[in-house]
Amino acid sequence: MRRATHAKWAACAAAAALAATACGGEDSGGGSDTGAVLSSSWGDPQNPLEPANTNEVQGGKVLDMIFRGLKRYDPETGEANDMLAEKIETTDSQNFTITIKDGWTFSNGEKVTAKSFVDAWNYGASLKNNQKNAYFFGYIEGYDKTHPEDGSKQSADTLSGLKVVDDKTFTVKLSQKFSTFPDTLGYPAFAPLPQAFFDDHDAWLSKPVGNGPYSIDSYTKGSQMSLRAWDAYPGTDKAQNGGVDLKVYTDNNTAYTDLMAGNLDLVDDVPASQLKNVKADLGDRYLNTPAGIIQTLAFPFYDKNWNKPGMEKVRTGLSRAIDRDQITDTIFQKTRTPATDWTSPVLGEDGGFKEGLCGDACEYDAAEAKKLIEEGGGLPGGQVKITYNADTGSHKQWVDAVCNSINNALGNDRACVGNPVGTFADFRSQITDLKMSGPFRAGWQMDYPLIQNFLQPLYYTNASSNDGKWSNKEFDKLVDQANAETDTAKAVGLFQDAEEVVRDNMAAIPLWYQNGSAGFSERLSDVKLNPFSVPVYNEIKVS
């Protein structure tokens, strides 16, 4: 297979030097071809490709193709539906009995059993394996023994809360009540792992084996991964195409150019510089759909200046000084939507998204902004500095625009300035070391489509991503209540109450919801992006 590809490339290269030739792929005219392979842009995953070690979109894309977990989030609604799970039962929101369906295997022939899950979760939680998503297992009893918080030697290798009952059943005991726990199980970190993973780890890493609709045909790190539809896949969401070639691009502009030249079928990240002409270039082959990502400005509550009484007025005033409509229109070409709460529209109303929950506090009003800031005692030191990383994501543009908006509203040229930090790593380490002196950029991409995920990790006292170290007893109490509530609708209501506490204190300024964007060639149809802004590859039809 690989040889053949080489030969083809070489032939194409030679031909390309002479004349215009179509080296694209096997064209078969109209109708969809379930054997045809499409090519898609990709970025080099940052971490080794293991379910519990992958925390960014590029690696997650692959995991979504080669793994299926107990649950799967509906590509359209984001709802958590049973996949491998036959049933997940609980009487007290703390002890769960999970039964898995019959007939599932890994693509190497191994059966998927209860042990595949328990082993995988134990591996992910164990400190010695350095898994970056280990905290996902933090709710399971015994986590503090396999993953001591202070980094001391772990006293257990396995989670005491996990027990295999038989081939098809296992039980999970959590260390606290968590009613929506089953809905978190669609996250890739909870994927099952075959015995081959533990027997020969290096071999598995160079060519991962999973139980999803695709299997990996070849993987050249840093350049390309070829995935092919796995014929014996037992699930209902079989691949509608023959496979996907993920090609690593150093620059999304080049990927876009390749799409224009007919050299690539799918680009899932339209470069900002092309947003102006993408409509004209692609027409309805351009997708711009909401994703579970919200951008906010966080505050350093460990800094006395930002935490003294009255500052909530200053924070609200700053929020009111930002003209979100204008910035999302002019800078983002409507690929972001002004935020009116602290979650995301992908949750849907039943899931906890409440349009307008922020109310006046998120509406632009220069006069009111000025008044609020004065009432609150003015800006600390007379100036706010918004810190951001300048290396990726074109953050400079919008930070400058936000500052402009604040300066105009306050009638003061020096009220707000941007404070760039060279690299993302440095930006993160300054945040971790509590070195922020003013508001800073914060982005949150959901792990699973639950309102809990937009609030608890970010605003609960000492939570994993509470970068501003905000702490509020009332908020914590409401979140605890919500997690203990077995009735989903009631739980969502309690989370929304907690969100109102965030609003009243303006713990973080919500800026906008981010959309996922994609462009595709004429060969493809049925392309859509899931709530995580990843293309739903198995549904794409190639003609």
Binding site: A13, A17, N55, H147, E149, T423, A425
Partner: protein, 307 residues
């Protein structure tokens, strides 16, 4: 000659140590790289500490440097954050960049020197003026403009080439990127050769050679060109290193997965091992290229050999 080479080799040691130490320090002052590995969230402290220990980042910088250099001499360049050994990254990146550099250097030598000789011999004629004008334009337009323009025209509008280079990066695919990469240096080579030829054309030994009745072709290649090439060789020699390290822009535009790409990723992810490893090899390339230039002098001009 032997002593000369030995002295040049010894001089390379302090340069090598100094350059790697500087890079090591520079990458280290950018902060804690582990903090950037967990995305827009904080790594849990226990895992972060564990990773720091694994990459040796918990030790003082000087100790890190010494361990690193110790390992380098045994051929171990460490591990990148995605779990791949840096030597593996090098094995995939350097061949590609070397091919690209070879294409670029060939363009410089063939087109640059030819144009230089032609214009140098016809100074002041229309061809000389027009070539001078073209080279001026090439020098003043940044590489990324030339690159993007050629990519758009040849790749998208006319469809002569593929806008991006495939994983294999064969010579055929690298022709256009190589030309883009070479463009500025090519213009300099043309101008250097032209000036040198024009100057030496009036020198005594050329007049003597002509007076002896040697054929014009022999006068130009054996006498005029050989003496005029010394500054050009210096330039091309140092340019080898510059092209390999400076290919970042070209490699990005044409999606070439070479040294520039790996360096860019390494810097973005603040991966000390990758950046220092690649820079170490690039420093070596620079040093060897300079050594070769000095040795070539001796071949071109025997007087230098005895100095």
């Amino acid at each position: 000659m032997g002593r000369y080479v030995a002295r040049r080799l010894l001089q390379m040691i302090p340069v090598f140590i100094g350059a790697t130490l500087l890079i090591f320090l520079m990458v280290n002052v950018m902060g804690d790289p582990i903090a950037g590995l967990c995305g827009d969230r904080q790594c849990d402290p226990a895992t972060a500490a564990q990773l720091r220990k694994e990459f040796g980042l918990d030790k003082p910088v000087v100790q890190q440097y010494l361990t690193y250099m110790g390992n380098v001499f045994t051929g171990d360049f460490g591990t990148a954050f995605n779990g791949q050994p840096v030597t593996e990254l090098m094995a995939s990146a350097f061949p590609v960049t070397i091919r690209l550099t070879v294409v670029a250097i060939l363009f410089e030598i063939v087109i640059g020197i030819t144009l230089g000789v032609v214009t140098g011999l016809r100074r002041g004629r229309p061809i000389d003026t027009s070539v001078l004008l073209v080279t001026l334009v090439v020098i003043s337009v940044p590489t990324f403009v030339t690159g993007l323009l050629l990519q758009l025209l040849l790749g998208v509008e006319w469809g002569w080439i593929k806008p991006s280079v495939s994983t294999d990066a064969t010579f055929g695919e690298l022709i256009v990127p190589g030309l883009v990469l070479a463009s500025v240096s090519l213009a300099y080579v043309t101008r250097l050769t032209r000036t040198s030829i024009a100057e030496n054309k009036r020198s005594d030994y050329v007049r003597t050679a002509i007076a002896k009745g040697l054929p014009r072709r022999r006068v130009i290649t054996k006498h005029l060109l050989r003496n005029s090439l010394i500054p050009v060789v210096t330039f091309i020699g140092t340019d080898i290193g510059a092209l390999m390290g400076g290919a970042i822009v070209t490699e990005r535009i044409f999606n070439i997965h070479g040294v520039g790409y790996q360096l860019y990723q390494g810097i973005l992810r603040q991966n000390t091992q990758t950046v220092v490893g690649f820079v170490t090899v690039l420093v070596l390339v620079f040093l060897v290229a300079n050594l070769l230039v000095d040795l070539l002098y001796a071949v071109l001009d025997p007087r230098i050999r005895y100095a």
